[in-house]
């Protein structure tokens, strides 16, 4: 049902946990629906210097969270805003159709974190 890459990211998630000195965070989803995730970002010179996640959800929810952090790390904020759900799914060699919407929320969480960072008017500006 899941690709090897999805299973790999589920079993060995990258960048899992909270970021101690995060500049911003973004949360999407709802435990009622079975998926909820929070992305924490650390920004330096308009780039995502570090990113971590916490996720409640199925295998796909955890794998997409992990993959999103890998795709986002080192990217400019603008580049990171352009990472789409589709990009995450493709980087994982695809997701089962039923999982495309409910469990593929990590890119949205990343975007929320970036928006929150921008709204905060970071100290280095």
């Amino acid at each position: 049902m899941y690709s090897e890459k999805v299973l790999d990211h589920f079993k060995h998630p990258r960048n899992v946990g909270e970021l101690e000195d995060a500049d911003a965070e973004g949360t999407v989803g709802n435990p009622v629906c079975g998926d909820m995730m929070t992305m924490y970002i650390k920004v330096k010179d308009d780039r995502i210097e570090d990113v971590k996640f916490k996720t409640f959800g199925c295998g796909a929810a955890i794998a997409t969270s992990s993959m999103t952090t890998e795709l986002a790390k080192g990217k400019t904020l603008e580049e990171a805003m352009n990472i789409s759900r589709q990009d995450v799914a493709e980087a994982l060699d695809g997701l089962p159709p039923v999982k495309m919407h409910c469990s593929n929320l990590a890119a949205d969480a990343l975007h929320e974190a970036i928006k929150s960072y921008k709204e905060k008017k970071p100290k280095n500006e």
Binding site: Y2, L7, F10, K11, P13, V16, G17, T27, P31, V32, C33, G34, D35, M36, M37, T38, K54, T55, F56, G57, C58, G59, A60, A61, I62, V98, C102, S103
Partner: protein, 390 residues
């Protein structure tokens, strides 16, 4: 210990080797059709009759009251659609429990499209049918009441005798889907007073693709499989002789061995439940604490999701089921858990263990040893987990 710990027997169980041996000759050597007038046909007919007697004995029915089908779903179809189309209470009511199997729920939707009023009878927090509610809901317009003998997901055993009496007091027929219960607990159609009972071959340790419907003598059902009039005209099509022989053998073995095997499984079940509840904080038993199938343990773990648990356990060679929406085609969490009053987020984190002949004490100990680590890993990842559990 074998390297595979399969505890999803409610979803699909291995065929007992003795059943396999009994079936084998009917694939190759004795391939006749029971309708044929020669020795191979007679041989097949004898086998069919013997199997029918075996299944009848298991539930204390007469052989003439057993109709073989392609499985429990078809038996439910014949019971519900078949009896509804023969009832005198046209456009009457059908009452079902809130925790029926999806095949019964969808059949009731079909009956509703046919003009019947379908009413759901609630269950309590342990999943037990509330008899006072049933009494209130069943009236003289009620054509049929259907309540499963036991729930395959949470293991709760239902008060079938009392529910059947209530149905009969208002002139309604009573059907019970005994798919999860058959082979686990004693089922006596006369003692329970049911009119129709669904039985499943695979759940008895027989093959898949065969089931049966008990139809009490005198109860009229309309057939849906039209053809050569096999099974007393109620289920046409040349009989699946090897499958039926397998179900008959499985029923005989169940009759002889069920008491001992159910006692053995109940010990393992309680070891599993007590072990997991003790080892894992914020874990809870779903279903009734004592009135439950000997082979069923359903436990929910707060702050995490069931599909992720199932995948993680599979990696350790442990196969179990879940009531999570994420593992369901519908993306809805288990209606059974919701009917017991659980919130959606609680229903997502449940695991269903259904034990069988293949399971032993070492395997239960292995699961109890491994599961806390799996739960801990997923909880550490979850934003819902409170600080003290991380």
């Amino acid at each position: 210990m074998s390297d595979r710990v399969y505890m999803d027997n409610g979803a699909g169980r291995p065929v007992d080797p003795r059943v396999m041996e009994a079936m084998k000759p009917y694939f190759t050597e004795h391939h006749g059709n029971p309708a044929s007038f020669h020795s191979e046909g007679f041989k097949a007919l004898d086998a069919l009759n013997e199997a029918r007697a075996g299944v009848a004995e298991l539930v204390n029915a007469d052989p003439g009251e057993i109709v073989f089908t392609s499985g429990a779903t078809e038996a439910n179809n014949l019971a519900l659609l078949g009896s509804a189309q023969r009832t005198r209470k046209k456009d009457g009511k059908i009452v079902r429990s809130a925790v029926e199997h999806i095949s019964v729920i969808n059949l009731c939707k079909e009956l509703s499209r046919m003009g019947f009023e379908v009413i759901e009878c609630p269950v309590d927090e342990n999943g037990v049918l509330i008899l006072a509610e049933l009494e209130r809901l069943v009236d003289d317009e009620t054509a049929l009441v259907t309540v499963m003998a036991a729930n395959g997901e949470i293991g709760t055993i239902q008060p079938i005798k009392e529910a059947a009496e209530l149905a009969h007091s208002r002139g309604a027929l009573f059907h019970t889907d005994a798919t999860a219960a058959n082979g686990q607990v004693a089922l006596d159609v006369k003692m329970l007073g049911v009119d129709l009972m669904t039985l499943s071959g695979n759940d008895l340790g027989g093959p898949k693709g065969v089931g049966a419907l008990y139809i009490k003598k005198g109860v009229r059902v309309k057939p849906h499989m039209i053809g050569g009039g096999q099974e007393g005209g109620l289920r046409s099509g040349s009989e699946n002789v090897p499958g039926i022989v397998g179900m008959g053998m499985a029923a005989r073995l169940a009759r002889q061995e069920m008491d001992a095997e159910s006692n053995r499984l109940a010990v393992l079940r309680d070891m599993l439940i007590d072990g997991l509840l003790a080892a894992i904080p914020e874990s809870h038993l779903n279903g009734h604490p004592t009135e439950r199938l000997p082979n069923n343990a359903n436990i929910r773990f707060s702050y995490i999701e069931g599909e992720a648990l199932v995948l993680s356990l599979d990696d350790l060679g442990i196969q179990v089921g879940t009531g999570s929406a994420c593992a369901a085609k519908t993306l809805e969490p288990s209606h059974t858990l919701l009917a017991c009053g659980l919130k959606h987020e609680e229903a997502h984190g449940s695991l269903v263990f259904t034990l069988g002949r293949n399971n032993n004490r070492d395997q239960v100990e292995y699961v109890v040893k491994e599961l806390p680590g799996v739960v801990g890993r997923l909880r550490a990842m979850s934003p819902l987990t409170p600080e003290e559990l991380r």
